[in-house]
């Protein structure tokens, strides 16, 4: 079997062919012409059948053949209009192929083209997906580097602002203090954005490794409760933590899971103006379920899947006014999934939202890693 490469045809597969012929064919790619049957098939783009090659006036190798080819059949292999190869059959005796045999070889050639094409497409897709993966890794690495570079000067800005506010450089007048506090607030917001981008890029680059330890889910939730209680208090929300006393010991990345919970509770408080927010935990069937329920505006069904995607928020003016990066939930979801768990929301417009996540009681291996 010959395959076209540019304007010449190369022997690529042989069956029951003498080593001498294989060697010769491999060293001599064939260009379209009349000197061999392969060349002739390439030139005329049709099946060529020669009953006795030694009697063919145009065949170039008559005298040099020791063990001469007599009957030869060449069948073109077309992909559409493109001649991709030639299928050659030969005999060392004069014995023409029958019509039935020629038809069989033609059918075989057509099928072979399809098979070869499938393999080629498959390889192409593999190569493409490898390239995409590579590009995605570069992107994540770039984001990781960039967020580091962005943070360094921001550290200095926030650091100086705090020193001035603390009166290290002398008493700052009230007006100046207000401005400095604004610099701080905005700086911290910017920092939050950068950290979120970094988190996500690390996760995407597969660089986030969970640090799995034994922990108490009650203590973890208590810690989050204490951290955000002032925020709920400022908004006069009823803020509750309900954890049964007999929860089994957990294993997982406590800090990451409290990051998840902090995000969920932070959102709940942010979006709830009246009523309350409740955190609950339960254990059943080898898993913890943690729920964060609020009496906020609720999330339309159409938005419920979207909010877990990067840079997406529930699409209402209400939400836009609340700020946020739109990355927190995407990160939370990834972290829960890395624990082999699930994060979802149950909500309806006007009747509040409840975010749930489940994680196995004892996570011994990071999901997606051996």
């Amino acid at each position: 079997m010959f395959r076209r490469d540019g304007d010449s045809y190369h022997g690529v597969a042989f069956y029951n062919t003498s080593p001498k012929i294989i060697d010769f064919v491999k060293r001599h790619p064939i260009k379209p012409g009349r000197h061999t049957i392969t060349a002739r098939v390439a030139l005329e783009r049709r099946t060529i059948h020669v009953a006795d090659l030694q009697a063919d006036p145009e065949y170039k190798y008559v005298r040099r053949d020791v063990d001469p080819i007599r009957t030869e059949l060449g069948v073109p292999m077309f992909r559409g209009n493109d001649l991709v190869g030639v299928n050659m059959l030969y005999k060392l005796v004069v014995q023409p192929f029958t019509d039935k045999q020629i038809e069989l070889v033609t059918t075989f050639a057509d099928q072979a083209v399809i098979a070869i094409e499938n393999v080629r497409l498959f390889e192409e897709i593999q190569e493409k997906s490898r390239q995409v993966e590579e590009a995605s890794k570069h992107k994540s690495q770039f984001l990781a580097n960039m967020s580091h570079e962005l943070r360094t000067p921001l550290n200095a800005i926030l650091g100086y602002a705090e020193l001035v506010l603390d009166g290290i450089y002398g008493d700052a007048p009230e007006k100046m203090r207000n401005v400095l506090e604004r610099i701080q607030t905005n700086g911290k917001h910017l920092l939050g954005l950068i950290n979120d981008v970094l988190d996500l890029s690390k996760i995407e680059a597969g660089q986030l490794v969970l640090s799995l330890n034994d922990y108490s889910i009650k203590d973890m939730m208590q810690g989050v409760y204490v951290a955000v209680e002032p925020l709920a208090g400022n908004k006069k929300l009823n803020f509750k933590l309900e954890v049964p006393p007999d929860l089994p010991a957990a294993r997982g990345d406590e800090r990451r899971l409290s990051q998840v919970l902090l995000n969920l509770v932070g959102n709940a408080i942010k979006f709830t103006d009246t009523g309350g927010v409740a955190m609950k935990a339960s254990a059943a069937n080898g898993s913890y379920t943690v729920a964060v329920a609020d009496t906020g505006p609720g999330i339309a069904e159409a938005d419920q899947a979207k909010i877990f995607e990067e840079f997406q928020q529930s699409d209402s003016t209400h939400t836009k006014a609340k700020g946020g990066t739109g990355l927190g939930l995407a990160i939370a979801k990834r972290i829960v999934e890395m624990h082999g768990g699930r994060l979802w929301v149950e909500s309806a417009l006007g009747s509040g939202s409840t975010f749930f996540f489940t994680v196995p009681l004892r996570v011994e291996h990071q999901a997606g890693k051996a």
Binding site: N155, I168, L198, S211
Partner: protein, 121 residues
Amino acid sequence: MSKRILVVEDQEDNRQILRDLLGSVGYEMTEAWDGEAGVAAAKEQRPDLILMDIQLPLMDGYEATRRIKADPELKKIPIIVVTSYALSGDDGKAQAAGCDAYVTKPYSPRQLLAKIKEFLP
């Protein structure tokens, strides 16, 4: 006599902030700009505490911390490592290197001071 703190940090702004912060509460601050100089300064000056950045030229903060902690004459000097953002796993590496405490960047000067005072009452 005032307590002496060695700051190993390559960024001028960060050094300036620490100078102003530590000076304001009466600490004496010395500086080294890279990890190798940090280890040398620790040997020479025997400070009361070392603030060690991680991303440093010549030798990173982990290695510098390891070397200081491996020196029997220096290992008692408390080292507070200043790591970059926590998600990178730097905190674990800092602990493995033998630091006594770590703060993550961006640290609030006020919080850093509280941490220093735990070691230098």
